[in-house]
């Protein structure tokens, strides 16, 4: 597949996955509303069951989103074929882990892999490496895009696997700063650039 078509396909795929997550949320609202007909249900075991159910509906799409993020950014970090094969392997390991050790461990695994890749991408982008190619032109926009993607992965990682960790809130703020700065850098590269030059 040509790189241009590959990029286009990834954008369509990511859009479709995001849309699917939206549908899971609609289901969550309807399900919650149905369960809320029983007064005080959130104080019963039914609420925990509801949380687990909803997480289990969300996680497969989260894994797909992470895979697509992994495929999307470091397009030339690896050869395209190798990247697709690595992603397929990561997906296969995630599926095996889901059945052997549970969904949270599996999502934790894929999150760790993608966080690592996004971290490398951010470093390479800072170093202006030619290994990374982006849809968005300009160095600042590229850094922004890398920060945004890394921030999203860090936040998901934090929500899924580090909820009980002592550093949870600190990691949350780090992810939030990455996402917000990434958005600003991506959307307003010109203004950010002139601010940084001052």
């Amino acid at each position: 597949m040509k790189l241009k078509n590959y990029d286009y396909f990834l954008v369509v795929l990511t859009t479709a996955i995001l849309f699917a997550i939206g549908i899971v949320c609609v289901y969550g609202i309807t399900y919650y509303n149905y369960l809320a007909s029983v007064p005080g249900w959130t104080e019963t075991a039914r609420y925990l069951q509801f949380i687990n159910d909803m997480n289990s509906y969300l996680y497969p799409f989260l894994v797909l989103l992470l895979i697509s993020l992994g495929l999307c950014i470091p397009k030339r970090l690896f050869e395209q074929d190798i990247l697709v094969k690595i992603s397929a392997l990561a997906l296969a390991v995630t599926v095996i882990l889901t059945y052997s050790l549970g969904m949270e461990t599996a999502v934790g695994f894929i999150l760790a892999v993608i966080t690592g890749i996004q971290g490398i991408v951010l470093i390479l982008t800072f170093k202006k490496s030619r290994a990374v190619r982006f849809e968005k032109e300009g160095h600042i926009a590229r850094i922004g895009s890398s920060m945004l993607h890394l921030g999203i992965v860090v936040l998901i990682f934090n929500f899924v696997t580090l909820r009980e960790n002592q550093l949870h809130i600190m990691i949350f703020w780090a992810g939030t700063i990455l996402v917000t700065a990434g958005n600003l850098f991506s959307f307003f590269p010109g203004r950010v650039g002139s601010l940084l030059k001052r």
Partner: protein
């Protein structure tokens, strides 16, 4: 300073604000008429009237907001909660620093910011006329269903009234003081309450323009509309993302172990956010194939989910909601 002064400030806010919001409603109706007439006949005269109405309406909204600010400052200055010594509660929480976007004031704040943003659009007369219609409807909704001057801050007023009744001997001071301490510390005076909602309302106001431009993009495939939609989606998305994220540590701090995970409002907000992310993603290839139509449709759908998420507070039970099963 005390209850009498607070009541006088409340009466002043109501007496000053009621005529203002009535004028806003009347001007908004004129704005609606001129917008429809311009869209039908394309006479520049109607467009000029429409712009004048928009400016007047925005000006009145801003004056009304100054009245709201004045009222809130007066609440802070006049109402003092002197907790019983036995409770040993910190003095930082003995005054109400009521945010400017709660109860019936939130829709007013959103409408005001949307009016200001509408004035920043340049060039596209049809788009601004369509926005004029949306803003007129919005002003009518504020006037009839969320008028902040009709009965200013009813919940805050109830709490203040109960407190003064309790210290006069009509009620359990300890119980009311305990409740008020929680409300003041984790709600009214919370830094998060001063940052999380306004960021979201400013985002919503910006995204109204994205919605209007996407509607036009659907019917008339002109590149300008996509550019305008994107221009306003950018600040909207940044504030939406940051505003939503800021709600997370607040939820941990204020709700602790309460049932807020997968709460309908939170699910709705995530749905809205992922759809706006999908919109911005799809937009990268807006020129390719039929993706411009998908992008415009997504932009419209995003706004529908935004309104739906806002209304969830009133239609589905949950920790964010005012309705109970």
């Amino acid at each position: 300073m005390g209850f009498a002064q607070y009541l006088a400030a409340r009466e002043f806010a109501s007496n000053t604000g009621q005529p203002l919001i009535t004028y806003i409603f009347i001007i908004a109706m004129l704005q609606l008429i001129f917008a429809i007439m311009f869209l039908r006949g394309k006479h520049d005269r109607y467009y000029e009237y429409l712009i004048k109405c928009l400016y007047i309406c925005t000006g009145l909204y801003l004056v009304g907001f100054i009245v709201i600010i004045f009222f809130h400052i007066q609440i802070y200055n006049t109402v003092l909660i002197e907790y019983p010594a036995g409770l040993q509660l910190p003095v930082e929480s003995n005054r109400f620093a009521v945010p400017l976007w709660i109860e019936s004031e939130k829709l007013y704040f959103w409408a005001m910011v949307a009016s200001v943003f509408a004035l920043t659009i340049k060039g596209r007369k049809e788009l601004l006329s369509f926005l004029g219609i949306i803003l007129s409807v919005f002003s009518s909704v504020v006037f009839f269903f969320s008028n902040p001057f009709k009965e200013p801050l009813p919940v805050v007023h109830g709490e203040i009234t109960r407190w003064y009744a309790a210290i006069s001997g009509d009620g359990n001071v300890y119980q009311i003081a305990g409740t008020l301490y929680g409300r003041i510390t984790y709600y009214y005076n919370s830094t998060y309450m001063w940052t999380h909602p306004p960021m979201l309302f400013i985002a919503y106001a910006s995204l109204i323009i994205t919605f209007a431009a996407c509607v036009f993009m659907l019917f008339r495939r002109i590149r300008d509309y996509d550019e305008i939609a994107y221009r306003y989606a950018k600040p909207g998305y940044i504030l939406l993302t940051a505003g939503m994220l800021i709600g997370y540590p607040w939820a941990i701090e204020a709700w602790k172990d309460a049932a807020w995970w997968w709460d309908p409002k939170i699910s709705g907000s995530i749905m809205m956010w992922v759809l706006y992310s999908a919109y911005l993603h799809a937009r990268i290839y807006v020129e390719r194939g039929k993706l411009w139509r998908t992008t415009a449709l997504l932009g419209v759908l995003c706004f529908v989910t935004l309104v739906f998420t806002y209304l969830l507070t009133y239609i589905v039970p949950g920790i964010h909601s005012v309705v109970q099963p």
